[in-house]
């Protein structure tokens, strides 16, 4: 809850003497959780497919090999046929191959955005949390400004402000939105760490400040950040799709990304719904996979749920 109603510490040493670490007990519970397993399996399959997609894809995703079957004037696109199980897209490219290759680009966008957001957030959060004082105030005011804009709107705005849209600008737009989220999360737990007994103990031992930050505070603040990353992966993919839908996505579609494939066909949604449905379903499944994993991870790592 937002307003910590601090419960008086229980005066007993037994609650934690079960002898199992948070991570280990979390893992024990996760292994049994069908929800987590579902998420993990989805993500596993997704990652394998996306890594292997250049070899799995039967055709080049960018070659308009079925162009002669495209007749825009009659709204005809290549239907499913031997060798092209899902037919072709508006430019006569093999749709199935594009879907497969799309997984890779989607992974790149998701992971790229998350990593950039994470790195930015880590830097800001560590600065704020470890140094404190005016650095903290300055960083947090910046974070406040960023948080004053609804997140997706911020992403839209950032994406619209790039002179030359590309996959990178999409990644960046989605990533920047996540920076304050990570920064705040990290700062919060860094601050908590700063006043924690084991940091005090290290200070009392005479350990140098830098070592305390990097050996104690940072590692112990990471787990919420990692959980958040899993969830951000899902949001990043969905937000990238929203950017494409608004025409702010990567205009170069030789190597497709699911969100882009979905955004590009909005005008033919009613006549060729499968062009939208396939990438949409893929996005939903993968986003769900990441969310299931993230949510179960979060729940498992929540000390409240430890018993």
């Amino acid at each position: 809850m937002a307003l910590g109603v601090s419960k008086k510490e229980k005066i007993d040493g037994l609650a934690d003497s079960a002898g199992v670490s948070l991570a280990a007990s979390a893992w024990k519970r996760l292994r049994r959780s069908p929800v987590f397993i579902t998420g993990a399996v989805i993500i596993g399959i997704f990652i394998v497919i996306s890594l292997l997609s250049p070899w799995l894809a039967p055709h080049s995703p960018s070659e308009p090999m079925l162009i002669d079957q495209v007749v825009k004037a009659r709204n005809e696109i290549p239907p499913a046929q031997p060798g092209h199980p899902l037919g072709g897209d508006l430019q006569g490219r093999d749709f199935f191959s594009r879907l497969l290759v799309g997984s890779q680009q989607t992974l790149i966008v998701g992971v790229g955005a998350t990593l950039i957001g994470l790195t930015g957030g880590l830097i800001l959060g560590t600065l704020a949390g470890a140094i404190g004082g005016w650095v903290d105030s300055a960083v947090m005011r910046l974070v406040d400004v960023m948080l004053s804009l609804p997140s997706l709107l911020l992403a839209f705005s950032i994406a619209a402000m790039f002179a030359r849209p590309s996959q990178f600008t999409v990644i960046l737009a989605v990533a920047i939105v996540q920076i304050p989220v990570f920064a705040r999360l990290l700062r919060g737990s860094m601050l908590a760490q700063r006043h924690s007994d084991h940091v005090l103990a290290a200070t009392a031992l005479g350990v140098k400040k830098g070592a305390i930050v990097f050996r104690h505070m940072l590692p112990n603040s990471l787990s919420p950040v990692i959980v958040q990353s899993t969830l951000v992966l899902a949001t990043a993919i969905i937000e990238a799709a929203a950017l494409s839908f608004l025409g702010l996505g990567n205009p170069d579609d030789r190597l497709p990304e699911w969100g882009q494939m979905l955004g590009d066909v909005q005008n033919v949604f009613d006549t060729h719904p499968h062009l939208a449905a396939w990438p949409a379903v893929c996005i939903i499944i993968v986003a769900l996979g990441f969310t299931l994993m993230g949510e179960t991870l979060r729940e498992a790592l929540d000390p409240k749920n430890r018993r």
Partner: protein
């Protein structure tokens, strides 16, 4: 070598309360520690007791410079510890170590026992060779009664008592002169408390340590300490040898405290006369004027107690008390009377500012 190892002089720690429309202004202070003098002799155990929130931990931390004191100084082994800076301070820290209340939270959950113990050695260049260090670790473990196999284990794999032993070993590793133990046993089960108390006593004899033991449990403090200081609302109200204090408490607060502690003996309990204090501990942000205790004191006298803050003075050899009327109370000249409890406002203490706006994205909103 002088007899006094530590001398705390007029130590004050005031935490600012910040408020403001745009820029934070300090609108008041929490007077957590407000003018404490004390001396700890080499090799003795000094016990510090008092109710929750009276500033014991803050005093302990200020002495270690884990909190910066607002005023006053601490002289350690003839050196002004409060004036040290940077590397000098860090080096000096080796000689003063701390043991914490919650054994689990004071150990980094991600470090093995080995690295917990080595960390301090490394910080002070004491891990010269691998063998020597290994030997030292083994010594430490046997000193605190842990099996050697513990080195590779992590804190969560131990029981509460064992963890506290690790914490003690960590402090011992640097061969300190003074160990400040902040409620070392209050998080432990009663049956385990004694193990740690005994251990601390043994180690003191073995290594000639000096202890400052902070606790709210007077029985424990009395048991372990040579001298006991009683704190009330940021100040020391009485200081005496532990037996002396129990035999003849001079300060009204100490009297009340002693009479309030239940003794596991029905015979004693049935006979005891309690001095029940009215009301609660006032807020350290708004301490009463004059004698801090006058709002609850059954011996309170008109005017002087409200206006003049009594200083700690030696009434008997080695027995100090901060009460204007200690002699009269001792002699029975002043008799206790009833006290009307005074309302204590809770709350208006420290409120972290509510952030400008909340979570940013769906996922964050999903993680309250």
């Amino acid at each position: 070598m002088s007899e006094t190892l530590v001398s705390v002089q007029d130590m004050k720690v005031h935490f600012p309360i910040k408020r403001g429309v745009f820029f934070d202004k300090t609108v008041g202070y929490v007077y957590a520690v407000d003018g404490v003098d004390l001396e700890i002799k080499r090799g003795e155990t000094y016990g510090l007791v008092g109710e929750s929130g009276c500033g014991k931990s803050t005093l302990g931390r200020a002495m270690l410079r884990l909190n910066e004191p607002t005023a006053g100084k601490m002289v350690f082994d003839g050196q002004d510890f409060s004036a040290l800076k940077g590397e000098d301070l860090r080096k000096m820290r080796r000689r003063i170590q701390m043991v914490f209340q919650d054994p689990l939270s004071s150990l980094d959950p991600r470090q093995s026992v080995e690295s917990i113990l080595i960390e301090g050695l490394r910080a002070h260049g004491m891990d010269k060779s691998k063998e020597e260090t290994n030997k030292r670790l083994r010594e430490l473990l046997s000193a605190v009664g842990l099996p050697h196999t513990s080195l590779r284990k992590y804190p969560h794999e131990f029981s509460g008592g064992q963890r506290q032993r690790i914490g003690i070993a960590r402090a011992l590793a640097l061969e300190p002169d003074l160990i400040v133990a902040d409620e070392p046993v209050s998080a432990l089960d009663v049956s385990v408390q004694a193990q740690v108390v005994n251990l601390m006593e043994e180690l003191q004899q073995q290594f000639g340590l000096t202890y400052l033991v902070i606790a709210h449990d007077l029985a424990v403090v009395k048991h372990i300490s040579d001298r006991v200081g009683v704190m009330y609302l940021g100040g020391l109200v009485e200081e005496a040898a532990s037996e002396d204090l129990y035999e003849e408490p001079l300060h009204p607060y100490t009297r009340a405290l002693l009479s309030a502690i239940p003794v596991p003996d029905p015979v004693v309990e049935d006979r005891r006369e309690r001095i029940l204090l009215a009301g609660d501990l006032p807020s350290p942000a708004n301490p009463p004027t004059g004698c801090r205790f006058h709002t609850r004191c059954p011996w309170k006298q008109a005017s002087r107690c409200d206006t003049e803050r009594p200083v700690l003075r030696e009434l008997k050899p080695g027995h100090k008390v901060a009460c204007h009327y200690a002699e009269q109370i001792r002699s029975g000249e002043i008799q206790p009377h009833e006290v009307k409890p005074i309302l204590i406002e809770e709350g208006d203490g420290l409120t972290p500012d509510v952030p400008l706006v909340g979570p940013a994205s769906v996922t964050e909103a999903l993680n309250p």
